[in-house]
């Protein structure tokens, strides 16, 4: 075990994957010898050479096009998009190509070796275009897997699973926690199951579901609720697609109350999917409506970030409202 921050955990996963198979390639804007603007890929060029970890020209659609092709050739393509906000030029390559590659060919070809890494989320004074949490834009896409770790330990194990998973995976890294989140992480290889939610804290009154950096807010809200005598069960969804309906439903059968929280704007976010599914699965058990605690339906503002941010107080208020419905 070693103390690592989230970036170091990512870097360690990449290094292990690239050591394990020389068919693993890592690339993106500025990810070469410089190591990326967040330094997630630092040291990889020195260790594996400039053909294994390299810079791309500045073109996200090209990065994903290239990555799809490389993966279809049988390689493991680990593509970095510098910010989640800049993934949209690659949207077609991801949604129409990566996700449908295997299905459309009747399994003659696939891009299972593809992993897309991208930092996402707010709280870093990034304004409109360095703060978005675009997971819901991809969650409507059969064929993709979407994974969002909440801390270094999860990040490393999940990234290793993602790289070698035989399906294309969108791996979204909470950049607010890159350096802020530090924890014990095994130095050697280990994997964590994709598609499986994680019950972070058990409780009996209200279930709080979150993913990625937002799990921190769920936990803090649970702390505050505990002070007020409310027992929260906190679930980290971990995987957005496919997602673990069962674990959430099981919890709601017990608590009868659900609060879902996400950083992204409310409308048609992934919290809506969770709410829609769980109201169906747990209808007769629900004692209050499922509450969604999300960003406002505006672009991400710079100057009011503090107010816009979905902090633990907002989550706590929803827990409270759920209890007092």
């Amino acid at each position: 075990m070693a103390k690592m921050n989230l970036l170091q955990a990512i870097n360690s996963a990449l290094e292990i994957a690239m050591t394990k198979s020389d068919k693993v390639y890592s690339f993106g804007e500025d990810t070469g010898s410089f190591g990326g603007v967040f330094r997630a890929t630092s040291g990889l060029t020195e260790k594996f050479g400039k053909h294994r970890n390299f810079n791309t020209p500045l073109v996200e659609q090209g990065i994903l096009g290239f990555a799809n092709g490389l993966a279809s050739q049988g390689s493991y393509a680990v593509a970095e998009i510098q910010f989640g906000d800049y993934i949209f030029p690659a949207f077609d390559q991801i949604v129409n190509e990566s996700a449908k590659f295997r299905y459309r060919s009747g399994n003659e070809f696939d891009v299972g070796g593809l992993t897309i890494r991208t930092p996402y989320g707010g709280g870093i004074a990034g304004g409109h275009y360095h703060s978005q949490s675009p997971e819901a834009y991809f969650a409507h896409t059969p064929g993709l897997k979407i994974v969002m770790p909440r801390n270094p330990y999860m990040a490393k194990g999940l990234l290793l699973s993602s790289i070698f998973d035989p399906n294309p995976v969108l791996f979204m890294e909470p950049k607010r926690l890159y350096r802020a989140s530090v924890g014990e992480v095994p130095e050697e290889e280990y994997t964590l199951e994709l598609g499986k939610a994680d019950v972070v804290r058990e409780g009996s009154d209200v279930t709080i579901v979150a993913w990625g950096a937002q799990v921190e807010m769920a936990e803090k809200a649970a702390d505050k609720a505990a002070e007020a005598g409310i027992s929260c069960e906190v679930i980290d969804l971990v995987s957005i697609l496919p997602w673990d309906v069962e674990t959430v439903a099981k919890s709601v059968f017990k608590t009868g109350r659900l609060v879902v929280t996400q950083e992204a704007p409310l409308t048609n976010g992934f919290a809506s999917e969770v709410a829609a599914t769980i109201q169906q699965e747990c209808f007769l058990y629900l004692e209050s409506p499922i509450m969604r605690v999300c960003g406002l339906d505006t672009p991400y503002p710079l100057c009011h970030e503090k107010e816009y941010f979905v902090d633990h107080l907002k989550v706590y208020e929803a827990v409270h409202a759920s209890m007092n419905y």
């Binding site: 068919k23 390639y25 053909h51 791309t56 020209p57 073109v59 659609q61 090209g62 994903l64 096009g65 290239f66 990555a67 799809n68 092709g69 490389l70 993966a71 279809s72 050739q73 049988g74 390689s75 393509a77 030029p89 077609d92 390559q93 129409n96 190509e97 449908k100 295997r102 299905y103 459309r104 060919s105 009747g106 399994n107 003659e108 070809f109 696939d110 299972g112 059969p142 064929g143 897997k145 035989p166 399906n167 598609g195 496919p242 309906v245």
Partner: protein, 399 residues
């Protein structure tokens, strides 16, 4: 004049604007329209066997295209898209490659696939979306694909395969495979952002890829010159990306063959990506959904018949004595019969089983998909009359 110390650029002191005239790229032609060679030029090293295989494929594809357009009119298939007039481009280039080179096409390269050995039955199975189709009936007709033949499954979104070809070729290079990738696309698709990404990245990474632009004058109804682009076509872009570039007469089998042969050498031996622009003309409508009389004249179409690539090559073969009229006709008739027979057979083969609906979304179907399928099957069993084909099979013996 002086050179700039930093960029090593020549320095000029009077402003002068360049334009398209600064780079006019000529067109390679070996076989003239009348089927004879240009003076003083010899045919590329295509031996008799290969020449006959090429011609054979041309004939087959022409028959297939014509027959399937008719089949679509008869309502036997929903859609078809022919390569009439462009056979030399795909077949001539495929003939210059090795069987383990990867082909990534747009949708008008059935010639390359046939050359690789895709059988008439395989074509028909895809066109009829039957249970033998390698693509499991999921995509529209002409979206062929075959791993064994190194022919990437066609998909409708334009130009997406171009940067994919760059990535594929990167893998080939790293694997030291000694192979390359050829990527076909239309001059229309070359307007997409993916084209730009692909060529620039290939030039930067120096990967063994041949970009083959079929410039057939139209993208559906949009004429290339002046409406798709304002410059001298697609080839100058290759130069701009710092890539080896050549323009050929796409209706001249020898020009296509020779250029591709040399391109393959550059690609595989020197890791030089190459852009080939093949000038041609789409003789038929864009697809069976299209009626070209809405945007071009019969005269224009007719004027291109003189340039027909199949007839042109046939004349050369006849003059050379490698074929004779009678054999060619017999061969033609035989192929036609085979196409007809395969068509009749394939249309009787049932559709893929409903269980296939959720396969291949992921490597294995996740729980929610299995549940959705079960619900669907229950529904179909409840309303068998509404889904007669599937219902009868479900009841007959569910797999």
């Amino acid at each position: 004049m002086a050179k700039d110390t930093k960029h090593q650029l020549e320095i000029v002191t009077k402003p002068a604007f360049l334009d398209a005239s600064a780079l006019k790229i000529p067109m390679l032609q070996i076989l003239k329209e009348d089927g004879t060679l240009h003076k003083g030029v010899k045919a590329p090293d295509m031996d008799k066997n290969l020449a006959l295989k090429v011609f054979d494929t041309m004939q087959f594809i022409r028959i297939l295209d014509e027959r399937m357009i008719a089949a679509q009119r008869q309502g036997r298939i929903s859609f078809y898209l022919s390569s009439l007039g462009e056979e030399a481009a795909s077949i001539g280039s495929a003939a210059a490659l090795q069987a383990d080179d990867m082909i990534m096409g747009q949708y008008r390269e059935q010639g390359a696939l046939a050359f690789r050995g895709f059988t008439v039955e395989q074509f028909m199975d895809q066109l009829f979306s039957n249970e033998r189709d390698l693509g499991k009936g999921r995509q529209m007709p002409v979206h062929y694909g075959c791993k064994d033949l190194n022919f990437m499954t066609i998909a409708s979104p334009l130009a997406t395969q171009i940067p994919q070809a760059t990535g594929y070729a990167y893998g080939q290079k790293m694997d030291k495979s000694g192979t390359c990738t050829i990527c076909y696309f239309g001059e229309g698709a070359a307007s997409e952002g993916d084209f730009h990404a692909a060529l620039n990245m290939a030039a930067v990474y120096k990967v063994p890829v041949i970009f083959f632009c079929r410039n057939n004058g139209y993208a559906i109804s949009t004429p290339s010159q002046g409406e798709q682009y304002a410059g001298d076509g697609i080839a100058p872009r290759g130069v701009a990306y710092g890539m080896k570039t050549i323009r050929v007469d796409g209706n001249d089998i020898f020009a296509v063959y020779q250029a591709t042969q040399l391109a393959r050498k550059l690609a595989v031996e020197e890791n030089e990506p190459v852009l080939i622009e093949g000038m041609s003309y789409r003789m038929a409508g864009h697809s069976t959904s299209d009626d070209p009389t809405g945007y071009r004249t019969r005269e224009e179409e007719d004027s291109w018949r003189a340039k027909d690539p199949v007839a042109r090559f046939q004349k050369w073969l006849l003059a050379k004595g490698w074929i004779n009229e009678d054999d060619a006709q017999a061969n033609y008739d035989e192929k036609k019969a085979a196409v007809l027979a395969a068509l009749k057979e394939a249309e009787k083969v049932p559709a893929p089983h409903i269980d296939e609906l959720i396969e291949d979304v992921y490597d294995t179907p996740p729980k929610h998909l299995k549940q959705q399928l079960e619900e669907l099957k229950a529904h179909i069993r409840k309303y068998p009359d509404a889904y007669p084909k599937t219902a009868s099979r479900l009841n007959g013996g569910d797999k």
